[in-house]
Symmetry: C2
Amino acid sequence: MRDAYHDELRALTGRLVEMTRLVRSAMSRATTALLDSDLPLAESVISRDKDVNQLCEEIETSIFGLMATQQPVAVDLRTVITALRMAADLERMGDLAVHVAKIARMRHPDSAVPAEIRDSILEMGQIAERLVTKTGSCILTQNAELAQELEQDDDHMDRLHRRLFRMLLSESWEHGIEPAIDITLIGRYYERYADHAVRVAQDVVYMVTGSRVGE
Amino acid sequence: MRDAYHDELRALTGRLVEMTRLVRSAMSRATTALLDSDLPLAESVISRDKDVNQLCEEIETSIFGLMATQQPVAVDLRTVITALRMAADLERMGDLAVHVAKIARMRHPDSAVPAEIRDSILEMGQIAERLVTKTGSCILTQNAELAQELEQDDDHMDRLHRRLFRMLLSESWEHGIEPAIDITLIGRYYERYADHAVRVAQDVVYMVTGSRVGE
């Protein structure tokens, strides 16, 4: 019975890592769709989000099954409960990629991103991808040190987010209100995405050590 | 032992209801702080958020204790796992009230809200309060029908949110970019707050019936 339990736990880890891959790909495609005004790509992010949701449901079902049949205690209990929370955060990251894609779709064939903002958005997209890639490695390797690296990347994201506001508020902003609203929301989506990625990594630390970090 | 378990469950329900009260009060004060540029009130929202976080931690500790000692299965297991998720949503609602209060603090002694937007913000604040009050009743009474009412209030919130964007984008908007950014974020915070309130109510339905609604 305990072997079945550990097989199930391994499968669970695999599903969580797969979720990081899906939401990384979703945000990567959403960023490109936004910068290239690529409607089919935006649509693909929106339509494929159901794969993320389904994986999240599979994880929940598997955890409920585990808890009902194996009645884990102590460390095992902590592991499965934390995995539930991780799946919920990853699912939310998929939603945030969809929000970015929907702005790209709404403005198509125009671009929601004025030329002078493109570099910042590209960089936020790259940091988002780097963060979630590291989150995936954290889950796979259960490496608590890697989780600390994520917090630095998250600080970088926060700096870019503040730079975005400064650009919107600068004298030279000449695009008016609508793009300012779009960029405000887009900035918030990347920042939240990064936040969730860090939370998932912190949950890995909690799983491994039993101590909460950085909250 | 089962009596101790049900006492603990009742205490858990009480704590969740208390969380709805705290985050209702937080958003109510945040809305007033925003509309009246009331700095001490804004500060009170920000400093008292730790009470919400502490209650959330108490709930988590109590649930982990319950699971370790009582090893609940089936309906009982569903109940405690769902309660964990509800506490996390309520904790997030407290954060969103803090975000609103921080915008009030940042713009003080000015107001972040131009005159023609005040009514909309006031109404969004009132709907937010109504929603979370109903969420509290849902938790207390386990009334699944009440949960459906919440979805109507949430639709109302979404309409107000769209109206906010229309006002920002109208020809008559003369306040420039900074207030537009503030209002975009504020609108998003109320909308997310409402969303979490609905999710908590949906979780009550899930606890009672075992079926997910509205997701």
